[in-house]
C-alpha cells in the first residue's frame, strides 16, 4: 500500500510501485491538467510538486511525474495544477496570462507548476532564479520571451514574501489555496501510520532497485511497471552530506540538487553552482541521485566525471558487508560495473582539496542546458611552485565508460606548467580515448572537443600563466 496526499486528497493505493506518477494522476485520478509530452523528463509538461517533510519543515520541489515511480510518492504531498487553482488566477497564472506566455497551452501547466514551486521554495527570489526554475520546461510556441517577462513580473510580486511562515504569506497573497498550511501535520500523521508497514516490507525478489528513477524510468518504463521494485528514496542511511576528517562523505541517495545546495560542497567548490547548472534540469536534479549517476554507468554521466577527477571512492553495501572501491575501478566496460546487482552504492567519499588544489569541470552539448554531453571533462590538479604534483583527469563521451585518464594524469604529474607541455599532454590524452560517431557527434568532433576542453581547464584555472594563443 502506497500512501500520500495528492493535492487535498489522501491516497492509499495498491497499484504497481513502478507505475509512473503521471499515469496515476491522469488516468486513475482523472486530473488532466498534468500533460504528457515525452515521458522521459525532457519537456517538463508533466511537472508536479513534491512536498517532503524534513525535520518538521515542508519543502516543495518540482519533479517530472513521468519519471517518478508511484512508490516515491510515499509519505509525500503531491501537488498538481488542480491543487494550485483558486477561484481567481494565482499571481503565477496571472503573470503568464498578462504577458501572453501561453499559446497552444500544452506546456503551460508545467511552467505554472515550476514557477509555483519557485514561489514556494525560493528564499531570495530573483529574475535569474525564476528563469532557472523553468530550465526543465520546453515550450515550442512562444520562444520563451513572454515567459521571461512573466517571470520578471512575478519576482516583483514576491518582493514582500517573508521567509518565516512563508506558506501563510503565500496563502494570504493568493499564491496557494488555503489547505497548504495544514499539509505538514497531515503528512506527519501519515508518516507515523506508515512506519509500521515499511518495517514489514520484504526485500525478496527485488528486480529493480530504484532511486530517483530518472534513468530507469526512461530506459525500461514497461519493465519497471511490471516488476517488483524497491525504491531507495526513503532510506535515510543513503542521505546526507557530511565531513569526516579531511574527507567529504555524500550519501548515495543524495539528489544532485541537494548536493548543489549543500553548504559543505559549496565551501569546497566555489563553481559548483554554475557547473551543476549544466547538469540536466531543476526537475531532474531534484530526483536524480549521485549514486544513480554512478550506477547508471553512462559514458557521459556528468557527476561520474566530476567525481572521477576528485579521485573519489565509493562504499558498496550488501547486507552487512561494506567495501570501498575507487570510483575509477567501478567501470569495467560499457554499462558493466565491478559490483554485484544487489550491492548498493551507500556513499561516496573524496578528499577535500587543499589550497594548492585546482578543480574544473567542462561540458559541451548540442544545447548547453538540459542536454546530455557530447563530451564532458573534469580535472583536478595539485600545483606547487608551478609544478604539478598530482593530477586527476577524467572525461566522458569519448569511450565506452566514464573514463579516468590514467595516462594523461600520470603524464602531468611532476611537470612544470607550460603550454608546450600541455600540448604534449593533449597528445597523450588522444592516445587513450576511443570515441565513436553517434547522435552526440562524430568521432573527430569528440576528439577535437576533448582537446579543447582539456585546454579550457588550464585556461580557466591558470589565466595568468597560460593563454589560448599559446595552446592553439
Amino acid at each position: 500500500m502506497i500512501r500520500f496526499i495528492l493535492n487535498q486528497q489522501s491516497i492509499a493505493t495498491d497499484l504497481p510501485a513502478g507505475l509512473p506518477l503521471l499515469d496515476f494522476v491522469r488516468y486513475q485520478q482523472h486530473l488532466k491538467g498534468t500533460k504528457i509530452g515525452c515521458r522521459e523528463g525532457d519537456c517538463g509538461a508533466c511537472t508536479v510538486l513534491i512536498g517532503s517533510l524534513e525535520n518538521g519543515q515542508i519543502n516543495y520541489r518540482s519533479v517530472t511525474s513521468c519519471l517518478m515511480p508511484l512508490a516515491n510518492a510515499e509519505g509525500k504531498h503531491i501537488v498538481t495544477v488542480e491543487g494550485l487553482n483558486l477561484a481567481e488566477l494565482s499571481p503565477v497564472q496571472k503573470a503568464i496570462v498578462e504577458e501572453n506566455g501561453t499559446q497552444c497551452g500544452f506546456c503551460t501547466v508545467g511552467f505554472v507548476v515550476s514557477l509555483s514551486g519557485f514561489c514556494i521554495s525560493e528564499k531570495e527570489p530573483t529574475h535569474t532564479k525564476a528563469l532557472a526554475a523553468m530550465d526543465g520546461n520546453i515550450c515550442r510556441c512562444t520562444g520563451y520571451k513572454s515567459l521571461e517577462r512573466a517571470a520578471e513580473k512575478l519576482v516583483n510580486n514576491l518582493k514582500d514574501k517573508t521567509s518565516e511562515n512563508s506558506l501563510n504569506w503565500l496563502v494570504e497573497n493568493n499564491f496557494l489555496p488555503k489547505y497548504f498550511p495544514e499539509i505538514p501535520a497531515r503528512l506527519q500523521a501519515l508518516q507515523n501510520e506508515s512506519a509500521f508497514e515499511t518495517l514489514r516490507n520484504s526485500e525478496e525478489k527485488v528486480e529493480f532497485y530504484i532511486s530517483g528513477g530518472t534513468d530507469l524510468m526512461v530506459q525500461k518504463p514497461e519493465a519497471v511497471q511490471l516488476a517488483t521494485i524497491k525504491t531507495l528514496t526513503q532510506e535515510t542511511t543513503l542521505k546526507g552530506i557530511s565531513q569526516e576528517g579531511n574527507r567529504i562523505l555524500i550519501g548515495g541517495g543524495t539528489t544532485v540538487e541537494e548536493m548543489r545546495q549543500s553548504p559543505e560542497m559549496n565551501a569546497v567548490f566555489p563553481n559548483l553552482f554554475p557547473h551543476l547548472k549544466l547538469v540536466s534540469s531543476t526537475q531532474i536534479r531534484n530526483m536524480g541521485t549521485v549514486a544513480g549517476n554512478f550506477a547508471n554507468a553512462s559514458p557521459i554521466g556528468d557527476l561520474t566525471i566530476y567525481f572521477l577527477a576528485l579521485n573519489a571512492t565509493v562504499f558498496l553495501r550488501k547486507g552487512d558487508v561494506l567495501r570501498e572501491l575507487p570510483l575509477k575501478e567501478l567501470y569495467l566496460g560499457y554499462k558493466t560495473l565491478a559490483k554485484e546487482k544487489d550491492e548498493l552504492i551507500e556513499k561516496i567519499a573524496f578528499e577535500i582539496p587543499d589550497s594548492n588544489t585546482y578543480f574544473n569541470f567542462e561540458k559541451v552539448s548540442k544545447r548547453t542546458h538540459l542536454d546530455i554531453a557530447s563530451v564532458n571533462s573534469a580535472l583536478q590538479l595539485k600545483v606547487e611552485n608551478n609544478i604539478i604534483s598530482e593530477a586527476h583527469a577524467a572525461g566522458g563521451g569519448i569511450g565506452p565508460i566514464p573514463q579516468y585518464f590514467t595516462k594523461t594524469s600520470e603524464f602531468l604529474k611532476g611537470k612544470v606548467m607550460a603550454a608546450e607541455m600541455l600540448k604534449e599532454a593533449a597528445e597523450v590524452l588522444q592516445s587513450e580515448i576511443a570515441p565513436i560517431s553517434d547522435a552526440r557527434g562524430s568521432a573527430t568532433y569528440k576528439r577535437l572537443l576533448l582537446r579543447q576542453l582539456f585546454f579550457a581547464h588550464f585556461l580557466n584555472l591558470f589565466p595568468n600563466t597560460l593563454t589560448a594563443e599559446n595552446l592553439l
Binding site: 488532466k32 567542462e362 573527430t444 577535437l448
Partner: protein, 753 residues
C-alpha cells in the same frame, strides 16, 4: 485582447485529445511499425501477440474494408504496409487491447519476416536513379543563359539544409467511436479535419457524411498535423469499425518521432551572376527535395520553394528547378514556412558566398537587390504594396546597424577566442494556399434567443489564437461584447469541406467568412430595427456596445431585446457564409500567375557570440522590423514573431535530424533531438511593429503572421558563419545547416585530424 484560451490554459482546464473523458469499453491502440527502412514482407506472424492478455484484435492491411490509401495529393501511401515497407517505422499493424500497456507489450511479440531492399536516404542519389515523386518543375523568368554571359561576376556552389522535427508538445492522437447507422465520430488532433474525414471515408468504404471529425484544439501543430494527423485518426476509426468499440490512439513520443515526417531536408546547387554594379542579373538553382517514402504534401512544399527561391530580391533572369526525390525516410511534410525557408536559405547562401569572394559585407548585395514596387517575381506576379525596402531601411535606422557593426568589429579586435557575428535577414513571404482552389472558407454563426452567439469555422486552434481573432471579428461586426461569444470546436458536420489550418491564411480566410456571416446577420437585424422603430431606411442604424444606435444616438433597444424581438418576428438568426479569396490565380502549365493575395515583408538583424575555444555560441540579439499591416492583435502577433523566430533559429542551429545508413532515425527522442530551451533563445528580441498599409485581402487590414517570422531564423546561420570567419578568415566552411556546435568547432579548427 489576450488569447481567449489563456485563462483555461494556465489552470490546466483546456481540453486536448487525451483529456477527453473515455467511454466505457474503450480500447487502446498501439501501432506496430516496420523495423527496416525498405523491404519485402515475407511473413507477418501475429499468433503470439494475439494470445497476449487483453488483446482484442490486431489489424493489418487485409482487414481494411475500403481502400488502403491515404495519399493526399498523390495516391501513393497505404495506411498499413502491404507487401513492402518503404520507411523505418511505417505502420504495419494496429494492436487493440484493453489497456495501452497491454497493446504495447503485445506489439513486441509481432514477428515480421523481411527481405531487406536497398535503402536510399540521399535525395541526389534518388534523383540519379529516377526515384521521383513527380516530374520536376521549373519556374523561369527572362533568359538566364544569356544573362550569365554578360555578368561581371558569377558564383556557383552547393547548399544543404536539414530537416526539422515539429515537436508539437502534444503528440499525434485520435479518439473514435461508432455512432449509429454505420456512421462514426472521431476527435482528432488535426490541422485538417476534412483530410481526416476524406481518407477515413476511403479506408472505411463509406461516404464522407458518415464520418464526423471534431477538433477542440491542438497542443501545437506547426504543419506536422496538417496531413500527418490523418493516419492515426483513420486507424482509430478503423479499429472502431472492426470492433464496434471506442478506440484511443495517442502516440508516445518515440513512436511519433520515428513514424511521422518532418520538414524536408534539401540539397541544392546555385549559380548567381551580378553586373558591375552588383545587381543580380541571373540566378539558377536546382533543388533536390528529400520527400521521403511517399508524396504527402511534398509537391506543394516543392512549389513553395520555387515561389520563394529569390526571397526578397528582384532577379530579372531566373531558372529554378526542383526535384521531389523519393527516399526511404518517413514521408516529409508541411512545416511552418512550407518549403519557403529551404528556398530562401539557398539564395542567402549564394549572396553570402558572392560577398565573401568579392570582399564585401553580404548586406551590400542584399540591400542593392531588394524588391521594389512593380518588380516581377519569377512566377509572373508583380509586387504591390512592396515593403521590402521600407522594412530594411527601418531596421537599419531604428536598430543602428552601422553602430552595431562597429561594436562588433571592436569586440572582435579585442577578443581572440570570443568572436561576434552579425547577419541581416530580409524576408518576403507570399500569403495564400498556392493551390488557388484551397483559398476558401466557411463560417456558421448562430445568434441564440438570449443574445449569445456561437461561431463555427474551419479554423483549427493550435496556439496561434485564431479563435481569439475569430471572436474579435464577430464581436466587432456585431457590436457586442466578446463574453457573449463562444467559438465552437471545428467540426465537419457544422462546417464542411474545410481547407487545413495552414499557409498562414487561416485567420484571413475564416475571418472573412465570419465577417460576411456577421454582416449578413447585421443587415437582417437592421431591417428588423427599421420596421420596429418605423424608420424609413436602414442607413443610420448601427450596432455598437450592445446597443442599437440610430443616426449617432442610442435608442432604447439593447442587443438582448433586439434579438428577442427578432426571433419572435421570425427573423433567421443563423447565417452560413462562404469566402473565396478574389484576384488570385495560377496556371501550372505556364508556371505563371498571381498566386498570392499579398506578400509579407520584414528584416531581422541577428548577432551572435561564438566561444572559439569550445565551439559553443549564444545569440545576443535579434532586432526585427516587421510588416504587420494594421495588426488585429499585437499580443498575439508579437508571440507569433518571437515563437516563429526561435523555431527558425532552432532549425538553423541545434535541431539536427540524424538518420543512419539503414534509414533509422538516431535523433529519435527529446534527449537526442534538441529544440531551443529558455537559456538558448536570443538574450534580446526586439520587434518593431511597422504599421504598414496592410492588405485589403487580409482580415481587417492586418497581415498574416504565422509563417513569415520563422525565416528570420536563417539569419542565425549566417551570423554564426560570420563569427567563424572572424576567427578563421582564411577558411571557407561549406554551406550546410544546421550550424551545430559540432560544425562550428570543426569549422574553427579545420586542420584538426
Amino acid at each position: 485582447m489576450r488569447n481567449i484560451d489563456a485563462f483555461n490554459h494556465v489552470r490546466g482546464e483546456s481540453v486536448y485529445l487525451d483529456d477527453i473523458p473515455v467511454r466505457q469499453g474503450t480500447l487502446y491502440a498501439w501501432v506496430f511499425g516496420s523495423p527496416a527502412a525498405h523491404g519485402k514482407i515475407l511473413n507477418l506472424d501475429l499468433s503470439e501477440a494475439q494470445n497476449m492478455p487483453g488483446i482484442i484484435r490486431i489489424i493489418t492491411a487485409q482487414d481494411i474494408p475500403g481502400e488502403n490509401q491515404i495519399g493526399g495529393i498523390i495516391p501513393d501511401e497505404p495506411l498499413l504496409a502491404e507487401g513492402e515497407v518503404h520507411f523505418w517505422g511505417q505502420p504495419v499493424a494496429i494492436v487493440l487491447a484493453e489497456t495501452e500497456l497491454q497493446a504495447q507489450l503485445a506489439s513486441h511479440k509481432i514477428k515480421i519476416d523481411l527481405v531487406k531492399l536497398p535503402v536510399i536516404t540521399d535525395p541526389r542519389e534518388a534523383q540519379k536513379t529516377g526515384k521521383l515523386i513527380m516530374p520536376p518543375r521549373t519556374f523561369a523568368l527572362g533568359n538566364p543563359t544569356e544573362a550569365f554571359a554578360t555578368c561581371e561576376y558569377v558564383f556557383e556552389g552547393t547548399a544543404e539544409s536539414g530537416g526539422q522535427e515539429h515537436l508539437y508538445i502534444e503528440t499525434q492522437g485520435a479518439y473514435s467511436y461508432v455512432k449509429e447507422n454505420g456512421s462514426f465520430y472521431v476527435a482528432s488532433s488535426t490541422q485538417g479535419p476534412t483530410a481526416v474525414q476524406r481518407h477515413a471515408a476511403t479506408v472505411l468504404g463509406v461516404g464522407m457524411a458518415k464520418i464526423e471529425v471534431d477538433v477542440m484544439r491542438l497542443g501545437g501543430g506547426f504543419g506536422g498535423k496538417e496531413d500527418q494527423a490523418t493516419p492515426w485518426a483513420v486507424m482509430a476509426l478503423l479499429g472502431s469499425a472492426l470492433t464496434k468499440r471506442p478506440v484511443k490512439l495517442a502516440l508516445h513520443r518515440l513512436e511519433d518521432m520515428r513514424m511521422t515526417g518532418k520538414r524536408h531536408p534539401y540539397s541544392s546547387d546555385y549559380k548567381i551572376g551580378f553586373d558591375k554594379d552588383l545587381k543580380i542579373q541571373a540566378y539558377e538553382v536546382t533543388f533536390y527535395q528529400n520527400a521521403g517514402a511517399a508524396a504527402d504534401l511534398s509537391p506543394a512544399v516543392l512549389e513553395r520553394t520555387l515561389f520563394h527561391a529569390t526571397n526578397s530580391y528582384f532577379v530579372p533572369n531566373v531558372r529554378a528547378t526542383a526535384f521531389s526525390c523519393k527516399t526511404n525516410l518517413p514521408p516529409n511534410t508541411a512545416f511552418r514556412g512550407f518549403g519557403g525557408p529551404q528556398g530562401m536559405f539557398v539564395i542567402e547562401t549564394a549572396l553570402a558566398h558572392a560577398a565573401e569572394k568579392l570582399g564585401l559585407e553580404t548586406t551590400v548585395l542584399q540591400e542593392k537587390n531588394l524588391l521594389c514596387e512593380g518588380d516581377e517575381f519569377s512566377y509572373g506576379q508583380i509586387t504591390e504594396g512592396c515593403e521590402a525596402r521600407n522594412c530594411w531601411e527601418t531596421a537599419v535606422a531604428k536598430f543602428e546597424l552601422p553602430k552595431l557593426r562597429e561594436e562588433i568589429t571592436t569586440f572582435n579586435q579585442e577578443n581572440k577566442f570570443l568572436k561576434k557575428g552579425l547577419a541581416v535577414m530580409p524576408i518576403c513571404f507570399g500569403i495564400s494556399f498556392t493551390k488557388t482552389a484551397m483559398n476558401q472558407a466557411r463560417a456558421l454563426v448562430h445568434i441564440y434567443t438570449d443574445g449569445s452567439v456561437g461561431v463555427s469555422t474551419g479554423a483549427v486552434e493550435m496556439g496561434q489564437a485564431v479563435n481569439t481573432k475569430m471572436m474579435q471579428v464577430a464581436a466587432s461586426v456585431l457590436g457586442i461584447d466578446t463574453a457573449r461569444i463562444r467559438i465552437e470546436t471545428t467540426n465537419t458536420t457544422r462546417v464542411a469541406n474545410t481547407s487545413p489550418s495552414a499557409a498562414s491564411a487561416t485567420a484571413d480566410l475564416n475571418g472573412n467568412a465570419v465577417k460576411m456571416a456577421c454582416e449578413a446577420l447585421k443587415e437582417r437585424l437592421k431591417a428588423h430595427i427599421a420596421i420596429q422603430l418605423s424608420l424609413p431606411e436602414i442607413t443610420g442604424i448601427e450596432l455598437q456596445n450592445e446597443q442599437v444606435i440610430v443616426n449617432g444616438k442610442t435608442v432604447d433597444l439593447s442587443w438582448e431585446k433586439l434579438i428577442f424581438s427578432a426571433y419572435w418576428s421570425r427573423i433567421n438568426l443563423s447565417e452560413n457564409a462562404h469566402y473565396a479569396t478574389p484576384e488570385i490565380h495560377f496556371n501550372v502549365e505556364k508556371e505563371k500567375g498571381h498566386p498570392f493575395a499579398y506578400h509579407v515583408y520584414g528584416t531581422a538583424i541577428v548577432t551572435t557570440t561564438v566561444d572559439c575555444l569550445r565551439g559553443t555560441y549564444e545569440f545576443d540579439s535579434v532586432k526585427i522590423a516587421h510588416d504587420f499591416g494594421s495588426s488585429m492583435n499585437t499580443n498575439v502577433d508579437l508571440g507569433q514573431i518571437e515563437g516563429g523566430l526561435v523555431q527558425g533559429i532552432g532549425w538553423m542551429t541545434m535541431e539536427e535530424l540524424l538518420y543512419n545508413q539503414e534509414g533509422r532515425l538516431l535523433s529519435n527522442a527529446l534527449s537526442t533531438y534538441k529544440v531551443p530551451d529558455i537559456y538558448s533563445v536570443p538574450k534580446e528580441i526586439d520587434v518593431h511593429f511597422m504599421a504598414t498599409q496592410g492588405s485589403k485581402l487580409a482580415i481587417f487590414g492586418s497581415k498574416a503572421v504565422g509563417e513569415p517570422p520563422l525565416m528570420y531564423g536563417i539569419g542565425a546561420y549566417f551570423a554564426l558563419r560570420n563569427a567563424i570567419k572572424a576567427y578563421r578568415p582564411d577558411f571557407e566552411p561549406v554551406y550546410s545547416a544546421p550550424m551545430t556546435p559540432e560544425k562550428v568547432l570543426l569549422n574553427l579548427y579545420p586542420d584538426f585530424k
